[in-house]
């Protein structure tokens, strides 16, 4: 069971939660499990070919999973996944 931190833009898709817990032993399994419990997140996280959408960054603790083993990266029970989409708000 790992903790997944949900960014503001995805919170409406998970009932407003900031964090959800999900089962799985790899990044891919955990994100799939999030998408199964919260189907609205599916298209936001995954592209049509089943990979991670390029505009979504996922970090295992503080490291980008793309420099680890991507969706295959092993995740321990105490680990945290951080989902980070780009934000641009600022000036107006």
């Amino acid at each position: 069971m790992a903790t997944v931190r949900i960014p503001p833009v995805l919170r409406p898709s998970v009932g407003g939660e900031k964090e959800v817990s999900a089962e799985g032993s790899s990044v891919g399994e955990i994100l799939r499990s999030v998408a199964e419990s919260h189907p609205d997140t599916e298209s936001q996280l995954f592209s049509a070919d089943g990979g991670l959408n390029r505009y979504v960054n996922v970090y295992l603790n503080d490291e980008d999973v793309r420099v680890l083993d991507g969706l295959e990266t092993a995740v321990g029970a105490g680990d945290t996944l951080v989902i980070l989409p780009a934000m641009a708000g600022g000036s107006r």
Binding site: R5, P7, P8, V9, K18, Q44, N53, R54, Y55, V56, N57, Y59, D62, E63, D64, V67, V82, L84, P85, A86, M87, A88, G89, G90, S91, R92
Partner: protein, 393 residues
Amino acid sequence: MSPSGADVLRQIKSRIDEVDPAEVRDDLSNGVVVIDVREPEEWSAGHIPGARHVPKSYLESRIEAAVPDRSEHVVLYCASGNRSAWAARTLLDDLGYERVESMTGGFTLWKDRGYEVEQPRTLTAEQRERYSRHLLLPEVGIDGQQKLLDAKVLLLGAGGLGSPAALYLAAAGVGTLGIVDNDEVDLSNLQRQVIHSSERIGVSKVDSAEQTITALNPDVKVEKYPVRLGAENIVEILRGYDIVLDGLDNFPTRYLLNDASVRLGIPVVSAAILGFEGQLSVFKPYDGPCYRCLFPVPPPAELAPSCGANGVLGVLPGTMGLLQATEVIKLILGEGDPLIGRLLMYDALAATVTEVKVRRDPDCPICSRHPEEIADEEMGVFPDYEAFCAGAH
């Protein structure tokens, strides 16, 4: 009866070697060591270029640090040639220096001849008072304050992030603040855009910001750009600035800014805010990742809450804008660990900060190449540039 001071001075002058300013000027490039023995306030008013300063009152204790080799050719000068004669005798008779001369006529004659004078950069009395709390910090001090006064920082937007950042950068004495904003002050801005005021509703934001900055610190020069940043003007506006503070509100311009700043080699201190949360990072071209390394492609419009009005806790851009200002000042001073290759996420409601690593992408379409290879027509290339925000409505 003891001889008078004037008698002794005459005796000394007859024993030591004196040298004309013209000769000293010719010798400057030949490795002669020129020592100014005047008081600190005389030195700060101007001195011979390349001279070292050892006040006569500290001559015995400090000369060895300034001239460790006693066989060096040393020329001393003061205002008129008297104090330097006394000092030359001390160096020759008491301290064992072998080749010491005193310059006749001193700095007064040097100046009268129209020779070059170096004016050390000093803070005015008012500046020493204004920045006294900076001067007390070893990490800033006079040198650091001079760096701040010399620095040119460009603020993209005098809005939520730019307002608090501009205020504190101005207060800190950042000498030139450029502000790009084509908007006017609106009542709904004042909940967070603290550089503006109720009386300035309808006034252009660059003019309003300039008024506040000038009232706060007359040392700061404000350059106003009341335009919308675009591919046609971005390089021209950015060029010459040391650091850009990015408070942009949309993705297309963020990509454009990234590409232009990489090409010009200008670091960007970037922040974004939404609701109760903010992101912050520093993109320093070629030292760390660029914005495209972090986000190679923008999210689809429905996931990009930047296209319309969104709620934001008024204090949040204050927090994030001041973190940006802090990073700007660290970069100018060259102190501390800048937020390069790291991204901070601040959650105001939870009062937590999360940090993740940002890696340089070896295949980055922009920063994996040399700056001169990035062509004009490639800058700010962005999927659906025109349609991006239209799709959100």
